[in-house]
Symmetry: C2
Subunit: 440 residues, 2 copies
């Protein structure tokens, strides 16, 4: 049977499975299940060390006192907590969010904050109000996979800007702007994660921040600053938010997912007033309002708990895990591997030696009972085949060390194959539906 014939059979097959195939919107063409989903059903088995996910480790949360506080909330303010609220968000929480943002130098008014269902929803809403199909979003390469998903859902085109050890490269940014504009395309914003980048594990050097802002302002490009990890510097250090230096041209995204609890889905966006107004209108049609209960839980938590102490606990916990990972990488990885050394956040970004394809290698890694996120998912343009993201946020230090050891063996085996065959035999990955490759 010719390739063409086999393609036809496949289409017919898909059509039989989905009677609605001709009805979908064009944007669904970009919505495809991750190729490695099937694999992650396997990767989630307890015997596999997963360095793939982005789940925070919540073991340190004071569940008993949280339970008491939430119980009091329901008894005392249940009629409000269980009722609809506004799309803008609970006023008291928006004030508290301004206090949280002050820790990174941001001075803001509560009216310019909108609460969202995690900062993922903020990403979605910002893209919704700014991006027409074909518009360009500039983003670091690599970039957060969830943001790439939002941009793709609105048919925006992502153009990556190179990073180096000091983060987003200003010259790379100028070059990208000029290239995109000469192609006659419309740049809507620069999406950037300045602190403890996901997945790169790099922080934008402080001395570059004003320059990046100046370039964007000069070229009339809005900055979308995503900062979920900013308070998780391992030495308690913080860096000045881009928003603190240019309030009129930066839309800022924050989240309680990493500094409190991800399952509440409470994030926020801080935007210039007129933009915030549009965001609230967009949010009304998206969810009516974020859950009132969750907002009031976060508000009470900030009022009654030592939330700064809790963040210190998280910093310490993630620092230990980062140390475990860097130590193990140093000890076990074969020559030719290179990785970033984050001073905060959740992730290390590793580059494997020439000849290794991290996506193709993943099934073999899972066979060796270790999982990671392969690099191509973090690029919109197919780059990243030699890269992988290693998360140290969730497993214990001992599990991290064991996982890295297994991964090193996998890579060593892979390199043997490369040396023997010149390349590594590949097999396709497919299978039933499974949890997402990447949460957060």
């Amino acid at each position: 049977m010719s390739d063409h014939g086999s393609q036809e059979v496949e289409n017919t097959h898909e059509r039989v499975l989905d009677a609605h195939l001709d009805r979908y919107a064009q944007r669904t063409a970009g919505m495809t299940a991750s190729e490695v989903r099937a694999l992650f059903a396997v990767a989630n088995r307890p015997e596999v060390v997963s360095l793939a996910g982005g789940m925070p480790n919540l073991a340190a949360l004071p569940l008993d006192s949280l339970a008491d506080e939430i119980s009091r909330l329901i008894v005392e303010e249940g009629q409000q907590a269980l009722q609809y609220g506004s799309a803008h968000g609970v006023p008291r929480l928006r004030e508290q969010i301004c206090e949280v943002m002050q820790l990174e130098g941001i001075s803001a008014h509560a009216d310019d904050v909108m609460v969202t269902v995690g900062s993922q929803m903020a990403l979605d809403m910002v893209t919704r109000i700014f991006c027409d199909p074909g518009d360009v979003v500039l983003a670091e390469g690599p970039s957060y996979v969830g943001a790439l998903g939002s941009f793709s859902a609105y048919q925006a085109e992502v153009v990556h800007v190179a990073m180096d050890d000091e983060g987003l490269n200003p010259d790379g940014l100028r070059e990208a702007i000029s290239k995109v504009r000469s192609a006659g395309k419309n740049i809507k914003f620069l999406y950037t994660i300045p602190n403890f980048h996901n997945p790169a594990g790099i922080t934008l050097a402080v001395h570059r921040r004003a320059e990046i802002l100046e370039i964007c302002r000069h070229h009339g490009i809005l900055v979308l600053e995503d900062n979920p990890y900013g308070l998780l510097g391992f030495d308690g250090q913080t860096y000045p938010a881009l928003r603190s230096q240019d309030p009129d041209n930066v839309v800022y995204l924050g989240s309680f997912s990493k500094v409190f609890a991800s399952g509440l889905r409470v994030g926020w966006v801080l935007a210039p007033h007129a933009v915030r107004e549009k965001l609230v209108l967009a949010a009304e049609s998206a969810t009516l309002c974020p859950p009132t209960l969750n907002q009031m839980i976060v508000s009470r938590y900030l009022e009654t708990h030592d939330w700064k102490g809790q963040i210190k606990t998280y910093q310490e916990q993630y620092r230990q895990r980062r140390d475990a990972m860097l130590g193990a990488l140093e000890q076990h990885m074969p020559p030719g591997c290179d990785w970033t050394r984050p001073d905060g956040g959740f992730m290390v970004w590793m580059t494997a030696p020439e000849g290794v394809d991290t996506k193709a290698m993943l099934p073999r890694a899972v066979t060796q009972r270790v999982a990671y996120a392969s690099g191509t998912g973090f690029y919109a343009d197919g780059l990243g085949s030699r890269q992988m993201r290693l998360s140290f946020c969730y497993p214990t230090p001992e599990r991290i060390q064991e996982g890295v050891r297994r991964l090193a063996n996998t890579i060593t085996d892979e390199l043997d194959l490369v040396r023997t065959f010149g390349s590594v035999p590949q097999r396709p990955v497919s299978g039933p539906d499974a949890p997402s490759v990447d949460t957060a």
Copy 2:
């Protein structure tokens, strides 16, 4: 100053207020704040009886035992409840949702259910995967204002189908289909609220349901069935869901907002398998996942509380309020007013006598200390100027009676003005930002 000059001044003014004006996506053109927002800041004052909102009355909720249950949940399963979950939703809750849907004749598999942040998010996701700009959505006239907002956010065009006392009119539906198709436009789905319609207060006659489904199937049009009120029939009656009669061509939306608690924002969508897969991919880019805590609260509530008894309590409560409203309308309204007589749900739809413009009358009603939702907001095409939605869900029966009395006086005064001047002098409505005209 000429009109043209004044328009220019206004644009310049807007540009000064919003430096980002040239950057927004085209879809934001349809996102405008309700003209009556400013008014609703006033309408929310305690001395005003609001018949405008769609907030459920939660007074009957057992807050103490809910507080205990939620406290237990945090202590026993806090690590899971406060952690990320899948975009698909908590498996146990999806099974329970299937049991809830059985009450309306639906037989479904938990895998085909996706949990959403209220059914508003389900509306948003369904529109996202089906509608390209310019696609047509058929909907009852009037229709749910939040759905119109979602359709507009994706630049879909709404074509209304006439209703009568038995709901959506099959001949009207055939006519609309033929008209839209002759205009060369692409119909993506029929959006319908068959039970206790918001805002119309009408239920689709059972004998019409098969016919409506047959028409849609014949013409290859998907049905989007929105059923937030289905279990709130005042005599405990239920009607067979459209989904129960045509599983392959109906996407079904449900919600716990009206039968449990709206502030949790837990709704769901039930869809044919391939559609559900696309919905999960869309939801991942929208919110990553719905809040795990809220899903587990609903799941525990269904397991440990007499939720069917609670629904009976709600039915009784809303029946009393409906009775109060219908009695007061009968007693106070001047001749020429006409209204629907709902046997379930939250709303009465009233038509005022010739000459009354309900949007223009609203400021005068608020002066008389009563508020309602004027009819034009429930149409995409400017109809509804003589109509208004009167919600009986939230105020007490006494307040409802008082509100209707005030409204009757307002209309009577309005008719006096019409008789004296031939029409009613109008003034523009504007002012600062205020809560949304309509929650739910």
